[in-house]
Structures are given as structure tokens and as C-alpha cells.
Amino acid sequence: MIQGPLSPVEAVMVALSGFVIVFLMLALLWGVIIVVSRIVGGVEKKAAPVAAASQPAAAPVAAPAAAPAPAAAAPQVVLEGVDETQAACVMAIVSHETGIPLDQLVFKSIKAV
């Protein structure tokens, strides 16, 4: 569109317009994401009771497959000076670094030093 030289005022106007357009576009996307999240959340909430209602019939078949249930069977981890989120991060990092799956690791306590 613009081929010739720009005056200082025109240059500032182009720069400002560009910056504002980038802002507006990303602000619009913010709105789009919120709308999409609400719609998807609503649809998934509606779908959840239907899925839950159909679950009891399938439960007897599914139960043997869900044998390990590590969360319920695992002993309680003693947390000292760390919250649950930090503890989860530590567990994930240890599992990643050692290459041992989480369900094969036993944590007795995690203590902040």
C-alpha cells in the first residue's frame, strides 16, 4: 500500500496503528478463547452426567482392569514445608530423572531444606 517515503507523523501513526492492531487482535482472541472454553465446558458438563449414568452398568466389567489403583493403595507421604503441588512436582521430576514410572516409586516423605 505505502510505497514512497513516510513523514515522521505518518511513521509514528503506522507504528502506533500496528501496535494497537496487534493488541486488539490478541484481545479478540482472548475473548474467543473464553467463549470457546465456556461452550466446551458447558457441553462437557452436560455430557458428564450421561457418562456417569451409563457407568454403573459397565463397572463390573471395568473393575478388574483397574487393578493397580496406586493412589488409594499408596501409603500417605509426609510433607514437611512443601505443599501438594510442590510435592507432585518433586515426584514427577524424580520419576522423569530416574526413568522409574510413578506407580513403581514409593515416597515416604518430602521435606523442604
Partner: protein, 383 residues
């Protein structure tokens, strides 16, 4: 006819590249620059995946008499590098690289905290600041726009915009963009510490909400639809970025996602690097303008970092101290390097701070932001 071995040898040497090399010493300088860039790529590991093919492209392009850059004329075959360069000229390689980036990127943190998008927008400040400075230094508006886009800290975007607006400046701009991206861990931390207080850097952010698979699938479709309909010039970049992301998230195209992330991206990177390097011939590269571009590129990166940090501070204030402003600097694209810098600086201030996932939101928002800025500049200064 008399044949002399020495005469034949003299004739071969006179027609060799060695003889032609000394007829224009500037080619020698370019070859030396290629060696330095190869050292930086291999020895110092500055974005080696791109710097090594770029440097080798410079080397090949500056060997005399190769005909590698010859355009097809009078029925003669074109040079190999001329053929490769068509992928840059027609925006094929940057778009395919964006396909790979999309397939590698998890937009989950951005969907979980969409306000990150504004940090990605604020961190495009450097594009427009450098654009104004380039104009003040006497560059033509289309060249100034190409220089400004270095501030987007996004190599493929810089290459796409420059190939369309100021192709002669492509090597200088691409080399500046990729070099500064490699130097982000050195450029950003001093600005981050200067513009934030220790208390701000110590802020621990709340855990992000989980994002459902459906949201992740709808996201690329929605973004492509909205952005491309509003700014059609963003179609090559945003279209491919979102297609790559859809491959990743939809769960039924794992092979395509894997190819886009790895094989295709690697192949295109080779062609892209060689194509950019081959444009760096002495008469266009060895100028004062190249030095100005390198300096302006650094300024662009710094302003982008400052823009993100200052907006991060605003968000920190508005949220009542829930947002750590350090994540603002990750709004310059450079995925995931800029987010890692936020994580490192946050943890220096508070060892219990884990900002990486929070910084990934603005980081990927920066990719979209720089593509939008590129679309704007192409619209305004394109033919």
C-alpha cells in the same frame, strides 16, 4: 597443435575459482564471515540448526564461478541454490517451519490463562520501535518494516516478511534475528532485573487450570478462522501454525504430527538455511547498512523484552500481585528459550518458584502476536 603440461596446468589454474577469488577480495571477506558463523554455530552452539546451513550457504554463494545462483536463462538450467531460494521467495519454507512449530507447541497454558495473550502483544513493542528507528536512520519504509520484525524474535516470520518486502536484506536480517534469539539468555536477564523489584520476581503464581482435549482441538480452528478472516495476510503463517497444532491435538493424525515436528521441519530447515545464506553475497552484505541492521536488531529485542515486562508489571498490579511480571519477557516469541529465562530468573529470586508453564502462555502468544504484526506490515508495505 602443441600440448604442454605446464601450459594446461596454467590454463586450469587461470580458470579456477582460486584465480577468480582474488579478483574480488570482498568474496574472501564473505568466506571469512562464513567461517566465523560456522564457528559460532558449531563451537558456540548459537542456534546451530540454522546458523550452520546459513553459514554454509554463505560459503557456497561466495565461491566464484559455481553458477549456483544463476537464474534460468536461454534454456540453461538454473543453479541449485537459485532453485532452493524459490521456497523463500514464495513463502513456502517459513510457512512449513510454522507447521512444525504448531505441531510442537502446547497451547494449553495459553488456553488456561488467555490474558497471557496481552503479554504476547505487548512484547511486540520492539517491532514498531525498531521500525521507527530504522526510518530515522534513513532506511526505506519497506526495509524499516523488515528490520523491525526482528523484534518479533521469530525467525520464520522475519524471513517471510523480509523476502516479501526487502529481499536484498534477507541475510543480514535473518542472521541478526537468529543470533539474538540464541543470545536471549544474555540479553533479557539484565533488563528483567532492572525493571522488576525482588518482591515482584518472588511472586508465586497459582497453578493453571486443566485444559480439556476438546478445548485444545477447537483452539487452532477458532484462531485460524478469526485471525485469517480479519487479516488475510497472516494466512501462510497462522494457517500453517494452527494446522500443525491441530495435527498434534486432534489425536487422529499422529503420523502427520510426527512428520511435521521432525522430518519435514528438519528438511525445510536445511533448505531455509541454505537459501538465506546464499543471498549473502559481498556487494549486498558488506555495507554499513548491515551493521546498522545488527544494532537495530538488538534494540528491537530489548524493546520487545521491555514491552512485555512493563505490561507484566501492569498485570501484576491489576491482579493484586498474582501475576509475576517476569513472565512478560517471555512474550517475545523465541519458544521456549524466553520462557526458560523467565523460569531461571524467577527461581533465582525464589527457589520455590516454578514459572515455566506460566511463561509458556505469553511465549506462544508471542508467536501469534508476531505473525499478526507481520500480517499488518505486509498489508501496509506489500506490493
Amino acid at each position: 597443435m602443441q600440448f604442454s603440461f605446464i601450459g594446461a596446468l596454467e590454463e586450469i589454474l587461470a580458470g579456477s575459482g582460486f584465480a577468480a577469488l582474488f579478483s574480488d577480495p570482498r568474496s574472501l571477506v564473505m568466506i571469512l564471515i562464513a567461517f566465523v558463523l560456522l564457528f559460532l554455530g558449531i563451537g558456540k552452539k548459537f542456534e546451530p540448526l540454522l546458523l550452520v546451513p546459513i553459514a554454509f550457504g554463505i560459503l557456497l554463494a561466495n565461491f566464484p564461478l559455481t553458477g549456483l545462483l544463476n537464474a534460468p536463462a536461454n534454456g540453461a538450467s538454473p543453479g541449485m541454490l537459485w532453485v532452493f531460494y524459490q521456497g523463500v521467495e514464495h513463502a513456502i519454507y517459513p510457512s512449513l517451519i510454522f507447521l512444525g512449530i504448531g505441531a510442537m507447541t502446547d497451547f494449553g497454558p495459553l488456553i488456561a490463562r488467555p490474558s497471557s495473550l496481552l503479554l504476547g502483544a505487548a512484547a511486540q513493542l520492539g517491532i514498531f520501535a525498531a521500525f521507527l528507528m530504522a526510518l530515522a536512520l534513513g532506511f526505506a519504509p519497506n526495509v524499516a518494516a523488515s528490520i523491525g520484525i526482528i523484534g518479533g524474535a521469530d525467525g520464520p516470520t522475519a524471513i517471510l516478511v523480509t523476502s516479501r518486502l526487502a529481499a536484498d536484506y534477507l541475510p543480514a536480517i535473518a542472521i541478526a534475528a537468529y543470533s539474538y534469539m540464541a543470545l536471549i539468555p544474555l540479553i533479557q536477564p539484565p533488563l528483567m532485573r532492572a525493571l522488576t523489584t525482588k518482591k515482584e520476581r518472588e511472586i508465586k503464581m497459582e497453578q493453571l487450570r486443566p485444559v480439556s482435549k476438546t478445548e485444545k482441538i477447537v483452539f487452532p480452528i477458532a484462531v485460524a478462522t478469526v485471525v485469517i478472516l480479519l487479516i488475510p495476510d497472516t494466512a501462510p503463517l497462522i494457517g500453517m501454525l494452527m494446522l500443525g497444532n491441530l495435527f498434534r491435538e486432534c489425536g487422529v493424525t499422529d503420523r502427520l504430527s510426527d512428520t511435521a515436528q521432525n522430518t519435514l521441519c528438519n528438511i525445510v530447515t536445511i533448505f531455509l538455511g541454505l537459501s538465506v545464506g546464499c543471498k549473502a553475497v559481498a556487494e549486498k552484505f558488506l555495507t554499513m547498512e548491515t551493521i546498522k541492521i545488527i544494532v537495530l536488531g538488538l534494540i528491537a529485542f530489548m524493546f520487545s523484552t521491555i514491552g512485555g515486562l512493563l505490561f507484566g508489571k501492569i498485570m501484576c498490579k491489576l491482579s493484586g500481585g498474582k501475576v509475576n511480571p517476569l513472565i512478560g519477557s517471555a512474550g517475545v516469541s523465541a519458544v521456549p528459550m524466553a520462557a526458560r529465562v523467565s523460569q531461571v530468573e524467577g527461581q533465582k529470586a525464589n527457589p520455590a518458584n516454578f514459572l515455566l508453564m506460566h511463561a509458556m502462555g505469553p511465549n506462544v502468544a508471542g508467536v501469534i502476536g508476531s505473525a499478526v504484526a507481520a500480517g499488518f506490515l505486509l498489508k501496509v508495505f506489500g506490493a
